[in-house]
Symmetry: D2
Subunit: 256 residues, 4 copies
């Protein structure tokens, strides 16, 4: 039986899927939207039970998954969505030990997923030129105990990238075509470059440039995620869904 | 500059995205659909270059990504597709050190992704009652040097699961509702159970059972992946796409 | 140049696509959400111009299309959506002169489309057992001057259908499988039966029955409509979309 | 009971949905892929029965719907697909009596749907500059007895459109933005202009022009149609689907 301990990340979840994540600390109280719970009542108790607030609201008490952490990233900008992140991980071949660079950092959802997957022997290098964004991202990473796997640089990659021989690079920038020579310098030959872009015009502009640069195997995709109402006798999709987050473009850096 | 070495997995890719993956060994010849290449000409040479076969066909020579490995899984059954695997990894919170169980093993695509992500300190436990399937899966895992992270059991999980306190479980079986008590025994309280099912009837049958068992936060989703022709001046989706692979169902094991 | 006349249906549309439809009558005032316009200022003026309310709001003044009429159906229940109606028209082979039956009437969106397309030599027969629904539908049809093409019956089709030899039948009922013998009686041999059902369970139940009855060529489909933001330099889908309205099932009545 | 008569369009359909359409004529033989049937055995017999070829293959004998006619349009170019045509009909407000213009004619699938819906008091005007295309389209319309509702012009609309005050116009041309002044002349004020374009670049180019011309309420959409295997106990989408046909753009002609 698994027991919640001081320092663990904990999640309280309502039946409607509303979630809240926090760290367990002795002698504290946590305020939900529906009343408070005492950390001391959670610490030392088993995961997976129903917890009641002082107002009588019932929450499921569970450890957050990576998916939960990503959904609950505090944001001041559009984040990369989990449906896209899962696919990006496979395409960029992220795993224990990978050295991956991203620009820009943004609110840190993708940074979190990268840091999670590269493990303590991998490395995430994250460039952003906006201090407010990077500070938010760093806080998000610290909150989930993954900040020590990330090197944050408050710098525009247009000014160059110090790292060399990176396994993979991901760009979440409006005009990624402007940085292809810097990426080519930093990314290992044969490595993967991923990009996310919200508009078709940006994709077209990017494609017209990357085709001329030393990148190959260019690939464009979009992912749609449709949820169903999980009711056995009335199984059907939900009424509404996210129609668009961004187009994902992948390419391989050639040796030249 | 990265150099291909003996023992590395190598991939040759045509402009139309056709791929072939093999391991580099001294003094061997590799037969593509368009002529042969000598391993010795590849070993010691940089990744990311164009390689010509003896018949003059041009291939891009690159290290396969995890995505490439999954796409090229040798199969005798339907595999779990990369679009679904990426999302499953996030939902099941797979990462370095995770102990995850799957049943059945199938051809081993999901097994490969799990083994990749859990690293050398994690563990994949894979049950299948069909020897031919598990042998194929083991060969697939050996081919990509990940078999040592997997414990294969030629056994029906109906007969019970030896492991306890698992971080996550994934079921790719026609009637997952039959095994919920065994899963409840093996999965840590608060852990995640994932399932893939091809038909709506199976999803309905599963939901009607899991709602009564000690699982919570049940969630059903499907993922659609749409590729675009990567042509800057004529950007548009491809003509056809995969319309369906399976419905993904996730749930949390409660403490009881 | 086309001029708006007394008795015409008129539409006022805002740049954000918000629409309002009404009939032009002499000496009246129309109240929009953003101020009023005088009918007399619209009557005798050309369609397609910008009209200002007394509060200075600008509306495009145009005749409503069939699509506009359907979108603006007053409803007390879920209506059949335009994306589905267009396809239903083709599958049921509706056109000038067609005799089509629907049950239930609902709020009358599909009734409106049928009445529009069958012309003054066709006929729409509409059964509903709920008086409030049928009254609403009749009002909707009267509002758009199409009620004289529809025969409304306040009756459950379980009690039988008076008409024979119908060209097509459409069912928007929770358990259409209960009425297949009545439909078989009323529908011409070779005619088309269409159905809309919101859940997969209903589709499965319907399929299991219709396969045993004298219907053939059964076909199930769903339609997804995705809008784009119509901005030349930033072309991209809207953020959200309708994920589900219903499954459409079509079949041909056999001769027996 | 409905009886097939000389001159009727007839369809033979296999269980796998393969269809063939022909006109019933006395004393003829029809050759299917699986043997022949005699017209005389079909004429005077009821619709909706199973017919056997001389080789013993079983076909369902039914009158084709509009949807069947569209699917079976003989083509030498990409046709507009039924999923899109249904929606176009609603957006362009096509119905009995409508006068609608299309350019280019193409293989005639959309022409067929328009001719069907406008009835004998409406009119379809169809421009194409390619004689081979228009001849094919005319043959397709003659085959389904709808050619007398269509005026074919072998002419580029760049040279001007003779008709005025049209209810609706639909363009299926690579660069519709080149013809907006001609359309503006020909289309009634307040009328609807529809367009289909396969690439995002074309949509962007069109939007950038139409925004400056006297058109309003511009709207871009795409439609996805997903079929299900119609099996009660194993309900699920088909494995593959059409991923893209074209983007649909609609606009209203302003009065100026």
């Amino acid at each position: 039986m698994r027991i919640a301990e001081v320092g663990d990340l904990a999640m309280l979840q309502l039946p409607n899927n509303k979630q809240t994540i926090f760290k367990l600390e002795a002698n504290r109280e946590y305020q939900t939207h529906k009343g408070s719970v005492h950390h001391n009542d959670l610490i030392g108790s088993p995961w997976g039970r129903i917890v009641e607030t002082h107002l009588g609201a019932s929450y499921l008490f569970i450890p957050p998954t990576l998916h939960d952490l990503l959904r609950n990233t505090r944001r001041s900008s559009q984040i990369v969505f989990p449906k896209d992140i899962g696919y990006i991980l496979l395409r960029l071949s992220i795993g224990p030990g990978t050295r991956v660079l991203e620009a820009g950092t943004g609110s840190g959802a993708l940074t979190t997923a990268f840091a999670w997957m590269v493990g303590d022997r991998g490395r995430v290098i994250s460039y952003d030129r906006r201090k407010d964004m990077q500070d938010l991202s760093r806080q998000n990473l610290e909150r989930v105990d993954l900040a020590d796997r990330v090197d944050f640089f408050l710098q525009d990659i247009a000014e160059g990238i110090d790292e060399k021989d990176l396994d993979a690079v991901f760009l979440d920038l409006p005009k990624p075509e402007l940085y292809l020579s810097q990426i080519h310098e930093a990314l290992a030959n044969g490595g993967v470059l991923g990009t996310i872009l919200p508009t078709t015009n940006q994709v077209a502009a990017y494609l017209s440039t990357i085709e001329k640069e030393d990148f190959d195997s260019v690939d464009v995709a979009e992912i749609l995620l449709r949820f169903y109402k999980p009711v056995a006798e009335r199984l059907r999709p939900t009424d509404r869904m996210i129609a668009h987050t961004g187009y994902l473009i992948f390419a391989r850096r050639m040796h030249t």
